[in-house]
């Protein structure tokens, strides 16, 4: 056992050296037209060696370290712990949630513009993750191309505003419905697929949409993207300094206040907040309805579900369609927030991040997904100084989470249903 561990640790350390020494230990320097290879300075080499030693020691004592990690008590202990009365717990929960939403409504008026902007982004990710949660967490369909529906929503608004002058409020339902339609269309070919195969096909679909957007230059502007996407209006009031469209008035003039760029940012934040809350409420309702239970039944045991008369086609397509619908929602808000979109924003990494949020939060759990969306979006911003190592930190955090709490931050709780005894 010990010898085995030692060999493994040595192997890992050597791999670390082989990988990191050539990458970090050498510099390419351009001198005129020729490129020369120079060794890095000693301190770097020492660091590389040190890293190898750390890897060696970690692998050698891995069992002890992992054991220690597991024994750290979770911040949210196992759910069975306090058998609080179900209805009381539900009441407290709904009060707390209402409180958070009310706080979130007033919060932007007291903080900086940058913070509000970031919070809007968080809310967009909340919407996306809640939508993907339907597909992955509830229906158990591993979808790696979810960002495609987000792109459909965003581009629908961008193109409609560019070619038809359609406003945000018109584009919002159109974008969401179009994304839902794409979800439905993608659903058909993958009906029979499960697990890995489904993941690969959806991944491909996501890439197809992105490549299409990139290459269909005549319509989408290709890699240059589409700019000048209008901001949302409030009952025909615009938030710009000058009114862009005939017939509209401007917000600051109507209310007789000085123009401030912050108005627009806060307004967008509030829209995103309302939409995110609506998304959460609708999906929460779905989870308590026959559709929601059918999704879960299909995830749990497809054969049993079919033997009870559930049609696999209907259940899977509804999950894809509804998930895509909310991605379309999020996409429209995103396009409006950025004012400019390009295929850059809809790469596979986005799908991966949204999926990471769902997994981190705890599959199927709405509160967990919201928390994870906040964490995953804000932490990288806080750690701006380490921007070079962002993905590294992100990866390490994921690994730690999977070891420490594989079921996610807040695993899904079953809904308690009171029954009356029948005579």
């Amino acid at each position: 056992m010990a010898a085995n561990n030692f060999r493994h640790a040595l192997f890992c350390a050597i791999i670390t050296l082989i990988i990191s020494y050539p990458i970090i230990g050498f510099n390419l320097e351009a001198q005129g037209i020729s490129v020369t290879l120079t060794g890095a300075d000693t301190s770097t080499v020492v660091l590389v060696l040190l890293a190898a030693v750390v890897v060696f020691l970690f692998q050698l004592f891995r069992d002890q370290i992992m054991g220690g990690l597991k024994s750290i008590p979770s911040p949210m202990p196992k759910t069975q712990k306090e058998p609080m009365a179900e209805n009381k717990r539900a009441k407290i929960e709904s009060w707390v949630l209402t409180g958070i939403v009310v706080l979130a409504l007033f919060w932007p008026f007291f903080v900086s513009r940058g913070a509000v902007d970031l919070a809007t982004l968080v809310l967009i990710y909340v919407m996306l993750a809640l939508g993907l949660n339907v597909v992955v967490g509830l229906a158990g369909l591993l979808d790696l191309g979810y960002v495609a529906f987000y792109a459909v929503g965003a581009y629908t608004f961008a193109l409609l505003s560019q070619y038809a002058g359609i406003s945000f409020w018109m584009a919002l339902p159109i974008g969401a419905c179009l994304a839902a339609l794409f979800g439905l269309v993608l659903g058909f070919p993958v009906l029979r697929l499960r697990g890995d195969y489904l993941a690969i096909v959806t991944l491909g679909f996501g890439e197809i949409i992105r490549i299409l957007l990139n290459n269909w230059t005549a319509v989408t502007g290709g890699p240059n993207g589409i700019g000048g996407i209008p901001d949302p209006t409030l009952f025909g009031m615009e938030f710009g300094r000058r009114v862009r469209e005939e017939g509209n008035t401007s917000f600051h003039e109507t209310f007789g206040i000085a123009y401030s760029g912050e108005h627009k940012v806060i307004f967008l934040y509030l829209i995103a907040l309302v939409l995110a809350v609506i998304t959460a409420l609708i999906i929460r309702r779905f989870m308590r309805m026959p559709v929601g239970r059918a999704w879960e039944a299909l995830r749990e045991d497809e054969i049993a579900a079919r033997s009870l008369g559930l049609s696999r086609t209907a259940v899977k397509l509804s999950a894809f369609t509804i998930g895509a619908f909310f991605a379309g929602f999020a996409g429209t808000v995103f396009a409006s927030k950025q004012g400019f979109i390009s295929p850059e924003s809809f790469v596979f990494l986005e799908s991966a991040i949204i999926l990471a949020i769902v997994v981190l939060g705890g599959m199927g759990s709405q509160l967990g997904v919201v928390l994870a969306a906040v964490a995953v979006t804000i932490l990288p911003e806080l750690a701006r100084e380490f921007s070079d190592y962002r993905m590294l930190v992100f990866g390490a955090a994921m690994v730690l989470m999977m070891v420490w709490r594989p079921q996610g931050l807040m695993p899904m709780r079953r809904i308690h249903i009171e029954l009356r005894r029948q005579e």
């Binding site: 749990e300 029954l419 005894r421």
Partner: protein, 251 residues
């Protein structure tokens, strides 16, 4: 009500079911018995639409159903349990029963979102039906437990309750007594008889427990290596030489 005529099912070179015929009348318990690997479960899979039979006809209430998709067959009023219990393990016990009742519920998305009176009414009814059947199989106290955490015998009973809330005409049970202790088997015996007597459900049963089979069956079909061996009342089957030989040969 159910009539199976010359059913055959071939897997590549293996003829798992060969020209099997049987029928179930209303208000009747019919059993299929046979040694391991005889093809009993395969017959079930053909009837319930999981397999498309390679030959023969299956008539349910006079209509041909062979080759129809499984979910449509179950909607006709034929539901089954599985040899290896298949519950929705992470869902609660009630939720398992609610999933089964999706057809009694109003599945219109909008009416569910805004909770129309009709939707509430149907929801209440299906909850009552779930409560009734949970009480009937003795699981009411465990209604909000995760189904996967139940004891084995309880899981078996839940699977039957899950079929019953769909209000079937024909219930197909694949080895319901497997893994049960004698007391549980006795309860099961009474439950199956009561399903027939009190709820007017016909039962098609696969079972290895001979005392159970002989006790409750109206008729028995014996299959051996995919081929029908004998059929008749329990007494006739018990005295059939071929059956005795097949079973002694097995043991």
């Amino acid at each position: 009500m159910l009539e199976v005529q010359n059913l055959s099912m071939r897997f590549g070179g293996l003829l798992a079911v060969d020209q099997v015929s049987l029928d179930v009348q209303e208000h009747e318990i019919v059993s299929i018995i046979g040694p391991n690997g005889a093809g009993k479960t395969t017959v079930f899979n053909c009837i319930s639409g999981f397999y498309k039979p390679t030959g023969g006809k299956i008539l349910f209430e006079g209509n041909e159903v062979q080759g129809k998709p499984d979910y449509k067959i179950s909607r006709l009023g034929m539901v089954r349990t599985f040899q290896h219990v298949r519950l929705f393990g992470q869902m609660t016990v009630v939720e398992n029963l609610l999933v089964a009742q999706h057809r009694h519920l109003n599945t219109n998305l909008i009416s569910g979102l805004i909770k129309t009176p009709d939707y509430r009414e149907r929801e209440r009814k299906s909850l009552d039906r779930a409560a009734y059947w949970l009480d009937r199989v003795g699981l009411l106290e465990l209604a909000n437990r995760e189904a996967g955490n139940l004891a084995y015998g309880q899981q078996r009973r839940l699977e039957i309750a899950r079929c019953m809330v769909t209000e079937p005409k024909l219930l197909m049970l694949d080895e319901p007594a497997a893994g049960l202790n004698p007391a549980e088997t006795k309860d099961l015996n009474q439950l199956i008889v009561s399903l027939k007597e009190d709820y007017n459900v016909s039962v098609l049963l696969i079972e290895h427990d001979m005392s159970l089979v002989m006790d409750i069956s109206d008729r028995i079909t014996v299959i051996n290596q995919g081929r029908p061996l004998a059929a008749g009342t329990p007494d006739e089957v018990r005295q059939n030489d071929d059956v005795i030989k097949a079973y002694l040969g097995e043991a």
